[in-house]
């Protein structure tokens, strides 16, 4: 069964027929071809599919596309404007090696973005809690935490 939904993704409006079985992550990936949103577990445990939905981070593998009609979504593709114009958080991940394979990275970056929006000057402990919904198997989190600390500093300085 299909349901027509109107959504805004990364500032662009879409009207599409979504299969009622389709989770938001698959809708973004397969229908809109925004493949930066990754799927790692399908149970909302790993956070690779994290997107921002109406101002809060959600695990898009656990939400049906048909249920987000009328809502606004930001994916990893929506926070930078080109290869040399990454978001300051992405730049910090690039410069401080806050990633390895890059599979968890989009979700991790969006969780970090939301954290810094709510808490612009977090402690290491607060950073660790802020990304505790996102699993990473490559980095041991060490350089991710460092990247977010650096991003926080830069974002504060640019205010």
């Amino acid at each position: 069964m299909k349901k027509t939904i109107q959504i805004t993704v990364n500032g662009k409006s879409y009207s599409r027929d979504a299969d009622t079985r389709q989770v938001l992550a698959d809708f973004l990936r397969d229908e809109l071809r925004l493949t930066g949103t990754h799927i790692g577990c399908g149970t909302g445990s790993c956070g690779a599919c994290t997107v921002v939905l109406d101002g809060r981070t959600v695990k898009s593998c656990c939400i049906l596309a048909a249920d987000v009609d009328g809502q606004e979504i930001t994916t990893i593709e929506g926070i930078s404007t080109g290869a040399q114009q990454l978001h300051p958080i992405q730049e910090a991940f690039v410069e401080f090696q806050g990633l390895q394979c890059g599979y968890c990275t989009p979700g991790m970056v969006l969780s970090a973005m939301q954290l810094l929006k709510e808490n612009p000057n977090p402690s290491e402990d607060e950073i660790r809690h802020g990304i505790s919904g996102n699993l990473c198997r490559c980095t041991g989190y060490h350089f991710i935490v460092k990247s977010i600390q650096e991003a926080a500093k830069r974002l504060q300085a640019s205010k």
């Binding site: 079985r21 990936r29 991940f93 394979c101 660790r128 990473c136």
Partner: protein, 793 residues
């Protein structure tokens, strides 16, 4: 500038941080179909019949396949090891099981359909009539006479045994001041890369070419395995590895789904994709680690260990074509790791059970050997009253004693274990810890310090193996405009070896790294190579790149010297220039020399060199011995990185929960090409080690049902569960590789096993707590406290 030794960030960071990487599941070619697999719900059962009618009649279903068709049209899956050459038993494992299932999750049937929901629903609509059989799920029960047989034609459940001997253990035990016996148990866990296994197969009948996109670590070996299993030419297959979302060994072929998908794509002549669900990967994506190590040691009162008897019992799960069972062999091969014990007997029993087959997982059995030796050293310290570090120092192989042959025939290349341990003890201020511990105790806090000692042999090379070889290839090409293309036989699962290889080539050619592009993971463009495992990408791939780049360097120096009108020996290369040594203002640019070779090959400067600037070279590691000695032993690991860690924990004795307060490590992987990426790799290893030591557990019930089938039950550590890390490198160069590299990728996972046990026991020393079994969950620690107090809590 020089690049080797510089901590550059990875060349792939920008693309991946932008979310613009391409993983297999991102491909969606026109007309793509989806494959779903029906898996065995039983640990052991005979298939009486399969009814596929209901599935076939569902709208959107394109094809339904069972094991009967597979067995009639495909070979058994080609084995990663030459089992006969390894003295092990082999197995005929088909892409779908035709008759008898041997673990929950084994592939029984599959559906290809227009969308993934239909494929799934149709697979679930296949009716299989099973005759349930008695499974065996405990390795020691599996060794008993009369146990149910996983492979009835074997006659027992033993896949392979080993029995290594040196010196005279009986005499050592008779003459000892003391002996200790015990067991260490490591549970079943796995790598759990965040990207599940994923493949896309597409067949072009006009070219007779199957293009197979795979989240794999080994494109060339995978092509061999697919070709042999399907019975088609290797040249009719192209394997492409796009970005891989973590491998850790688990993405080494061959899983049932791989040849199955390849077969179906050829048959149906449409692109078909298979992306595993997390549950499927936890059920059937390869397990590792489950081993029990029984030991007896003989020691003198000065702490020197004079004799060791060890018996390794490994539960490798159901036999398969995967290379995982080799981990049990490697555990026995590594004992007694860094230590100089003159009298040994090491036995291995690699046992099959009705559980998921092992596949490779970072550590590859080495971790269990070091874990056992750590427990032994701590116990000897306790019995002799000596310090734990002192006991290790008194038993280490000394730096001047290399190459050192261990009881298994392992030939340890080099190392300085005492220096690394002393350095890490300084880092953590080991000397002053007792005062810190006493002060904390006054506040009611239980701090403890522990030592973990890793020995992580790398560059695995097994006799007659398609997959595991001590060599690799690299092509370096200088283009007419002076840019450099590197094509490697090794691949990267995200660990950054492409960056380190570019650094090696940049230094060799004296060219800026901005002018280099690295291409990996494509059997049609890259030189033949074995891909990524056993930390081999820099040992083998980096060495091959060095040798290939050197060939071009010599050629370009010759041309440059003609252009400069000096002797070749007087010319050096750096910063995109060839210059006169001692007079760097006399130079020709790198680009000019490249241009001369291509555009002026009949001119004066390039007249006596062969046209073109491309070299493909292979590196073969010299420290491998495949000719068996009189005991039948061979040496399969050429490179021996090591690491000493020191960990401080705080334990809550009321709950058994602990927190890591400090984690220090001194790592020695020989010459480090890129210290930043080496450290990044280590951090990942630490957390996978901590995860294994305390968080992750694949739990089976007695009937062989896996109880941990999602990330809600199989709990990987999050950022709040682990500390920041303090890492220092020590460089004891390999005497055998052109750059002195030893490999770093697998290191880090071992230290937490013994190190955390050691630290927790130290925190609770006055309660006399003994830890012998992982994972160190709060309940296990609490039970150990309770047991030490006579179980009266």
């Amino acid at each position: 500038m020089k690049y080797i030794g510089t901590g550059m960030t990875s060349l792939t960071n920008r693309q991946l941080a932008a979310g613009k990487g391409t993983f297999v599941a991102d491909y969606k070619p026109e007309g793509m179909l989806h494959m779903a697999v029906l898996r065995s719900p039983y640990a052991s059962a005979r298939i009486r019949s399969i009814d596929t009618k209901a599935a076939e009649q569902m709208p959107g279903v394109v094809y339904v396949i069972t094991g009967q068709e597979v067995a009639a049209n495909m070979n058994p899956i080609f084995e990663a090891y030459d089992t006969a050459a390894m003295g092990a038993k082999g197995v005929k494992w088909y892409a779908l099981v035709p008759e008898r299932v041997r673990f929950v999750g084994e592939c029984v049937a599959a559906v290809v359909a227009e969308d993934k929901w239909t494929a799934r629903a149709a697979a679930d609509a296949i009716e299989v009539d099973y005759e349930e059989l008695q499974p065996v799920t405990d390795p020691e029960k599996a060794m008993e006479p009369g146990a149910p047989l996983v492979e009835p034609e074997w006659g027992d459940n033993i896949l392979v045994t080993r029995d290594f001997r040196s010196g005279d253990p009986d005499k050592a035990f008779a003459e000892a001041d003391g002996t200790i016996s015990g067991v260490v148990k490591q549970h079943r866990y796995t790598g759990a890369a965040i990207e599940p296994r994923a493949y896309l197969a597409n067949y072009d009948p006009y070219q007779d070419l199957l293009t197979f996109h795979a989240s794999t670590q080994n494109p060339h070996p995978m092509r061999v395995f697919l070709a042999e299993t399907l019975g088609i030419p290797e040249t009719s297959i192209r394997v492409i590895q796009p970005h891989v979302g973590g491998g850790f060994g688990l993405k080494i072929p061959t899983f049932q789904e791989e040849p199955l998908l390849a077969y179906l794509a050829r048959k149906l002549q449409r692109p078909i994709r298979f992306v595993a669900e997390r549950t499927e990967d936890l059920l059937a994506g390869g397990h590792a680690r489950e081993e029990r190590l029984y030991y007896e040691v003989a020691y003198k009162k000065d702490g020197t260990v004079t004799g060791l008897r060890a018996k390794v019992i490994a539960d490798v799960g159901a036999p398969s074509a995967l290379c995982g069972w080799g981990q049990s062999f490697v555990t026995s091969y590594c004992i007694p790791t860094c230590y100089k014990i003159p009298n040994n007997r090491v036995q291995l029993f690699s046992v099959v059970t009705n559980k998921c087959p092992w596949n490779a997982y970072r550590g590859y059995g080495k971790e269990a050997a070091s874990f056992m030796m750590d427990r032994i050293m701590d116990n000897v310290a306790r019995e002799t009253g000596l310090d734990r570090a002192e006991v290790r120092l008194r038993n280490y192989i000394q730096p001047h004693e290399f190459p050192y042959s261990q009881v298994s025939g392992a030939m340890l290349d080099s190392g300085d274990y005492p220096k690394a341990l002393r350095k890490v003890l300084d880092m953590i201020d080991y000397e002053n810890f007792p005062a810190m511990q006493a002060a904390a105790r006054k506040e009611g806090r239980y701090l403890g310090i522990g030592i973990g000692q890793e020995l992580t042999p790398e560059g695995c090379s097994m006799p007659r193996s398609t997959l595991l070889g001590g060599w690799d290839g690299c092509t370096v090409r200088v283009n007419p405009s002076g840019q450099v293309t590197i094509l490697t036989g090794v691949t990267s699962p995200g660990s950054g070896n492409e960056t380190a290889i570019a650094q090696i080539v940049a230094d060799e050619l004296g060219v800026s790294i901005d002018h280099i592009k690295v291409i990996q993971g494509d059997t049609d463009t890259c030189p033949y190579g074995l891909g990524n495992y056993s930390s081999r990408s820099i040992i083998m791939g980096g060495s091959a790149a060095k040798v290939a780049a050197n060939e071009l360097r010599e050629k370009m120096l010759k041309v440059a010297s003609k252009l400069l009108e000096v002797a070749p020996d007087d010319v050096d290369a750096e910063d995109d220039k060839f210059f006169l040594k001692g007079a760097p203002t006399r130079f020709v640019t790198f680009k000019e020399v490249a241009s001369t070779v291509y555009r002026d090959c009949h001119g004066k400067a390039a007249f006596d060199v062969e046209p073109g600037l491309e070299a493909t070279r292979y590196f073969k590691h010299p420290n491998v011995y495949h000719q068996p000695d009189t005991q039948g032993r061979f040496s399969s690991y050429p490179s021996w990185p090591n690491q000493a860690v020191a960990i401080i924990v705080e334990v809550d004795p009321e709950t058994g929960k602990f927190k890591i307060v400090r984690y220090c490590a001194v790592h020695d992987s020989g010459v480090v090409i890129n210290p930043l990426l080496a450290e990044a790799n280590l951090h990942g290893g630490f957390v996978q080690g901590i995860g294994g030591a305390a968080f992750e557990h694949l739990v089976y019930d007695e009937s062989g049902q896996l109880l941990t089938t999602t990330f809600m039950d199989y709990t990987c550590p999050t950022a709040v569960d682990v500390p920041s890390f303090e890492v220092a490198h020590q460089e004891t160069p390999s005497p055998f590789t052109p750059l002195g590299t030893k490999g770093v990728g697998e290191s880090g996972v071992t230290g937490p096993l013994g190190g955390l046990c050691s630290a927790i026991e130290n925190a609770l020393a006055d309660r006399n707590v003994r830890l012998t079994e992982l994972p160190l969950t709060p309940s296990r620690v609490w039970e150990a406290i309770s047991a030490a107090q006579g179980g009266n809590r």
